[in-house]
Amino acid sequence: MKSAPKLIRHFASTGMISSILLIIFNIILVFTILDSYNNTSYPYETAEKAAKSLKRLESGYVLSDNMARKLESENIWAVFIDNHTLEVVWNTDNLPDTVPEKYTASGIAELTIGYIDGYPAFTGRAKDGLMVLGYPKDSLWKHMSPSWDLNFISDLPMILLILLVTNILVIFIIYMVTSSRLVNAINPIINGIQALSSGGPVRVNETGLLSEVAANINRTSEFLQSQNYYLHRKETARANWIAGISHDIRTPLSMVMGYACQLMEDINLTEEEQQKATVIVKQSRRIKNLINDLNLASKLEYNMQPLKLADENIVAVVRQTVADFINMDISGKYEFELEAGIPRALCNVNIDKELIKRAINNLIWNSINHNEQGCKILASITADNKKKDHVTVEISDDGTGATDRQIYKINNAPHYMFRDESTTEQRHGLGLLIVRQIISVHGGTVIAGHSPCGGFQVKFTLPLPKK
């Protein structure tokens, strides 16, 4: 299961990125808001400027027109207190009556940090006095005890950083906890879906966030299982039906074959009659092969043929199969030859011996059935000495062979048994189909072609065990 860690990684990175983005967004927001409130210039700065723009002429003090206009527009009053007398020596016209005209040192100290009669006061130094600006009541708030621990101020960057990191961390943890809960809820669902795809039965706990999805998965699994069960039952029934038919044909066919064999050798019969008996024997043998093939083909197709794999010497297996053929003494028309140019070390293959013998048998029968006039049948076993990964068994004959088109069809077209539509083309037997099925369950390949000696040839490979 790779999806859950992937999902968690995805959630973690999303969480981290979103917390950082959130902090940045907040900072920008705070500065924007602050900026929108500070559209007036800074009061202390204005006071300093006002102090500088107050000129002492012989006729008295005069404020520059610009500053006068600015103060008036913002409804600020101003007084100028003389350093020596501590009395107001100049003031704007809009000075409220309640503002005193004489000050003590403590009064100066108080107005510097605070208010005069509720008006927020700001001071600006001039050469011989102090400019005091009075802003409208309730327009500004002044911090009255502006003193900080120096350590705090020096540590402030670090404190801010820690604050930031802690914030990010807290957001991240909250995010992770919620997402891991989600992942925990999703995990069994993902496992369930994966198990569904492999075809096994699935049971997901129907609780938690995604109980509805879990219930649907369970229902799907039950549905698939019942489908599989019915399909398997159908396939088994079909294979058993074929097995039953082949069983029931065997006994009557034994009698046909047995009596025909007797007639074939009955010296009281004419040669023509004996010949007819020979045909019956030959055709019965074809039926026998066909029912054997039909049974095996259906079992291989529906995976009902258990493989009995063992290490076998492929040369010995081919040799025994060919010898059995000669021992059967079918007739003197067929000449057999075996070529085994293969080192001993490459002879051992892991195979079901009986099935491989069956495949070779089918190939030899194929040559015999297609060459009634007789032919030479060559079995050869070779191995690729370089790769050493497979052995090749070739059964070829010098008989009538097949056309390129027929060979192409044998190699490429599906067998009529497994086509969904019926065909009017000439049907060939099950022999080659079985060879293909047998070799395929052993992990090998089959290819038909022209034999170098003019007839038909089938090559199949078997993988050598890896060392």
């Binding site: 006994t251 034994s254 047995g258 009995k308 040799r319 085994a340």
Partner: protein
């Protein structure tokens, strides 16, 4: 040939299909077998065996009142005679079960009469060999129990390996025995790599049994496959 002795052995044939029984009886009779009993069911088979103990039984697996495997075990309580199954049950598992319970051979229907006769003869030869000893070849005679060859009046002893080889060839007389099967018969479970030794032993056997060992007529080579013992 002493096959007439083997062909007088009592053979019990059990099959529920009467027509098949008739046919097998006619095949056996045509080949010279003289003592044949038939039965159509387990019950009949046991009765027949009580009257005369068979020396070979040919049984079907599916019988109306039981199965051939248990019938074999029942019959063998009396005497340990060879059993050949002749049945329509062609599944591998049936075959394995047959051999597992002690069958000597297993033939799946339909069968060629010749094959049945050959297998019966092979079993009889194997099981009643002590009474059937002298093998007559083209240019000599082989006395297997004495492990010697009689050629031109002189007695030539066989070595242990030559004896094993000749026995294996004789059991399959007239048929090719592959190189691998011969090596296995002589050298056992791991018979690979003995092909050259096998050739040497075959040459020595030929020197003993053939008139002209360079042109053998009794022990012939089948190129690439194996050897065949020809018993005239």
């Amino acid at each position: 040939m002493k096959s007439s002795y083997l062909k007088s052995k009592c053979i019990l044939l059990v099959d529920d299909e009467q027509k098949l029984l008739d046919m097998v009886v006619s095949i056996l009779k045509n080949d010279g077998y003289t003592n044949i009993q038939t039965a159509g069911s387990v019950k009949e088979a046991i009765m027949a065996a009580d009257i005369q103990t068979p020396e070979l039984a040919i049984l079907d697996v599916m019988l109306p009142d039981g199965d051939g495997f248990s019938l074999m075990q029942q019959l063998r309580k009396k005497s340990d005679f060879p059993v050949l199954f002749l049945t329509a049950c062609g599944e591998d598992n049936d075959k394995f079960r047959g051999f597992d319970t002690g069958a000597d051979d297993y033939i799946v229907k339909p069968f060629l009469p010749k094959e049945l006769l050959f297998r019966i003869m092979a079993i009889l030869r194997r099981c009643y060999k002590e009474e059937y000893t002298l093998i007559k070849l083209a240019n000599s005679e082989v006395d297997l129990p004495c492990a010697e060859v009689v050629k031109d009046g002189s007695h030539i002893p066989l070595t242990a390996k030559e004896f094993e080889l000749l026995s294996a060839l004789y059991r399959n007389a007239g048929r090719i025995v592959t190189i691998d099967a011969l090596c296995e018969a002589v050298w056992g479970d791991n018979p690979y790599g003995y092909e050259n030794s096998l050739m040497t032993h075959i040459r020595r056997i030929r020197e003993k049994i053939e008139a002209d060992p360079s042109h053998p007529v009794s022990l012939v080579t089948v190129k690439g496959l194996g050897y065949k013992l020809i018993v005239p």
